[in-house]
C-alpha cells in the first residue's frame, strides 16, 4: 500500500554563543567549589596507573585511558572520604575539552562540568573574553542581524566524547580508587 504520508523531519541545529572557538568556563578551584559546595575539603592525590590497570580500565569502559597519571582529588568531610574529583581531557575530531567530574565513593556521578573548550584547528585560536558580552549594550530591538563576527573554523561539539570520558573515569575509580 502506498504511504499516504510525505515524511519530513525537523532536525535541531546547534547554535552557539560566539566567541565559541575557545571558552574558559571554570578553573580547577572553581569547578571544585561548584561540584563540592558543602564544605568538603579537597586534597590532591597522586595516582599512577600501572599498565595492568590501564588495560583493566579499557576492558571495563571500552575506551582507552591514555594518561597513566590522572589528576585526582579526594573530597573529605569530618575526616570521612565523601567523594572524588577528577580533571580529564577529551580530544574530539576538532576540539579539545577539559572537564571535571565529581564521583561519590560508591561510584555514582555527582556532576560533570566543562572547564574549557578549544577548537584545535583552523589556524590560530583567538581567545576573547566572553564577559564583554555583558557590557550593557543599548540595543532597542530583541534581535539584530549579522553582527560582524571573526571567521571561525568548523567543529563538531562532541558531547559523546565527554560521556565516554566519564564512563572511563568511573572505571578508573573502580580500578584505582576503591578499596
Amino acid at each position: 500500500m502506498r504511504d499516504k504520508w510525505m515524511f519530513y523531519l525537523s532536525l535541531p541545529v546547534a547554535a552557539l554563543v560566539s566567541p565559541a572557538y575557545a571558552v574558559d568556563y571554570l578553573s580547577v578551584e572553581q569547578a571544585q567549589q561548584v561540584l563540592f559546595s558543602d564544605g568538603q575539603t579537597l586534597t590532591a592525590v597522586p595516582v599512577h596507573l600501572s599498565s595492568a590497570q590501564l588495560s583493566q580500565i579499557r576492558d571495563l569502559a571500552g575506551v582507552r585511558q591514555r594518561n597513566a597519571d590522572p589528576k585526582v582529588w579526594k573530597a573529605e568531610k569530618d575526616g570521612q572520604t565523601v567523594g572524588w574529583f577528577l580533571v580529564d581531557e577529551v580530544v574530539g575530531k576538532h576540539e579539545f575539552i577539559t572537564y571535571a567530574t565529581a564521583l561519590s565513593v560508591d561510584g555514582k556521578v555527582l556532576g560533570v562540568e566543562i572547564m574549557s573548550y578549544r577548537e584545535t584547528h583552523g589556524g590560530e585560536i583567538r581567545r576573547a573574553d566572553w564577559r564583554a558580552l555583558f557590557k550593557g549594550k543599548t540595543l532597542s530591538d530583541q534581535f539584530r542581524l549579522n553582527r560582524d563576527i571573526p571567521n571561525i573554523s568548523g567543529a563538531t561539539l562532541s558531547c559523546r566524547n565527554v560521556t565516554d570520558g566519564v564512563k572511563r573515569l568511573l572505571a578508573l575509580q573502580k580500578v584505582a580508587l576503591m578499596p
Binding site: 504520508w5 510525505m6 515524511f7 519530513y8 523531519l9 525537523s10 532536525l11 535541531p12 541545529v13 546547534a14 547554535a15 552557539l16 554563543v17 560566539s18 565559541a20 571558552v23 568556563y25 571554570l26 567549589q33 561548584v34 559546595s37 576538532h94 556532576g111 560533570v112 562540568e113 566543562i114 573548550y117 573574553d129 566572553w130 564577559r131 564583554a132 558580552l133 555583558f134 557590557k135 550593557g136 549594550k137 540595543l139 530591538d141 530583541q142 534581535f143 539584530r144 542581524l145 549579522n146 553582527r147 560582524d148 563576527i149 571561525i152 568548523g154 567543529a155 563538531t156 561539539l157 558531547c159 565527554v162 560521556t163 566519564v166
Partner: protein, 273 residues
C-alpha cells in the same frame, strides 16, 4: 566585569548557562537551573519508557495525574497544535513510532496522528483520546530552557543566557551574539539576541535526514526544505514555531508567525545552499 559561564553535558547535548552575577549564590542558582532542565527532560522524554510522558502514552486512554511541569508543557503543546492548525502537532508520536524515529514501548494500537482535543486536560489530570501518542520533542527542550530561566530569576539572577543545544534564550541586560553550526560544520553568524529566544531547525525529507528528528506532517503539501530560525519571547514558542514556519504556505507564513507571536530570522537562511 564579572560573570559566570558554565556548561554541562545534558540531554545528549551541551547545555550552557551564563549569568552576569558570580559567586556562590550564582553558582547555586546555575546548578538548580541545570537540574530543572534535566527534570523537564526526564518527565517529557518519549525515548525513555519510564518517563511520565511514556506512562501517559501507555495508559490506553485512562486519565492520569501528572507532574505540574509536564502538565504545563502539555497545555502549551496542545494550545500550539490548535492555534497553528496542526502545523505544529504534538500528537504525531504514532507516525514517528511507525517510522522507527521514536521507539515503540509496546503501546496497543495507536494512530499516526490526532488533533489538539485528543489531549484532554483537567487540572493536573490528563487523558489521551482516540489512541494518539503525544510527543513533545518539538517543544520540550525550549520549555526546559524557559523553566530554567524562571528558576535563575527566582534565585536572584538578573541577566544571562541559556543555550540547550540550539534552543537559546537571553534575559536581562545582555546582547548575545548567536552563531549557527550547520551540518557541514560551517558557522553562520545570525545576529544578537536580547530578552528573547531563538530556535533553529533544519527541515529535511525523511530520506535525506542523517539524524533522527521531529517528524512533520505534510498534510498534502511539502514543507520548505532548509533552515528555519525563529525568535519569540519564550524558548518553547521559538522551538515549536520552527516547525510551523517550515510547513506554512509561503503566502501565509509571515502573517501566521506574527499571529503566533514569532518572527522568522533571517529570511535568507530559509534555503539550503
Amino acid at each position: 566585569m564579572t560573570g559566570r559561564r558554565r556548561q554541562r553535558p545534558l540531554l545528549g547535548t551541551f547545555v550552557e548557562i551564563a549569568t552576569t552575577a558570580e559567586g556562590p549564590g550564582a553558582d547555586a542558582a546555575i546548578t538548580k537551573g541545570f537540574e530543572v532542565i534535566a527534570r523537564v527532560h526526564d518527565l517529557a522524554s518519549f525515548q525513555n519508557p519510564d518517563s511520565e510522558l511514556s506512562r501517559l502514552n501507555g495508559a490506553a486512554g485512562e486519565a492520569m495525574t501528572l507532574h505540574p511541569l509536564l502538565v504545563r508543557v502539555l497545555r502549551l503543546a496542545r494550545a500550539m497544535t490548535h492555534s497553528s492548525g496542526s502545523l505544529f502537532n504534538c500528537t504525531l508520536g504514532g507516525a514517528s513510532v511507525r517510522r522507527g524515529i521514536l521507539p515503540d514501548h509496546g503501546c496497543r494500537d495507536f494512530r499516526d496522528e490526532g488533533a489538539s482535543d485528543d489531549v484532554e486536560l483537567r487540572g493536573h489530570t490528563v487523558r489521551l483520546r482516540n489512541n494518539v501518542l503525544v510527543t513533545l520533542d518539538g517543544i520540550a527542550k525550549g520549555f526546559a530552557v524557559d523553566m530554567a530561566v524562571q528558576c535563575l530569576k527566582r534565585h536572584g539572577v538578573n541577566a544571562g543566557w541559556i543555550n540547550a543545544g540550539g534552543d537559546m534564550r537571553a534575559f536581562g541586560d545582555v546582547a548575545v551574539p548567536v552563531v549557527l553550526r550547520l551540518l557541514d560544520d560551517r558557522l553562520l553568524p545570525v545576529g544578537d539576541l536580547r530578552n528573547g529566544a531563538i530556535a533553529t531547525s533544519r527541515v529535511a525529507s525523511y530520506d535525506d535526514a542523517r539524524f533522527p528528528g521531529t517528524i512533520l506532517s505534510s498534510h498534502g503539501h511539502s514543507p520548505d526544505v532548509g533552515l528555519w530560525s525563529v525568535i519569540a519571547a519564550q524558548a518553547w514558542r521559538a522551538d515549536a514555531l520552527t516547525k510551523v514556519a517550515a510547513l506554512a504556505p509561503p503566502a501565509d507564513r509571515a502573517g501566521l508567525l506574527h499571529r503566533l507571536k514569532g518572527r522568522i530570522v533571517p529570511a535568507d537562511l530559509g534555503t539550503e545552499s
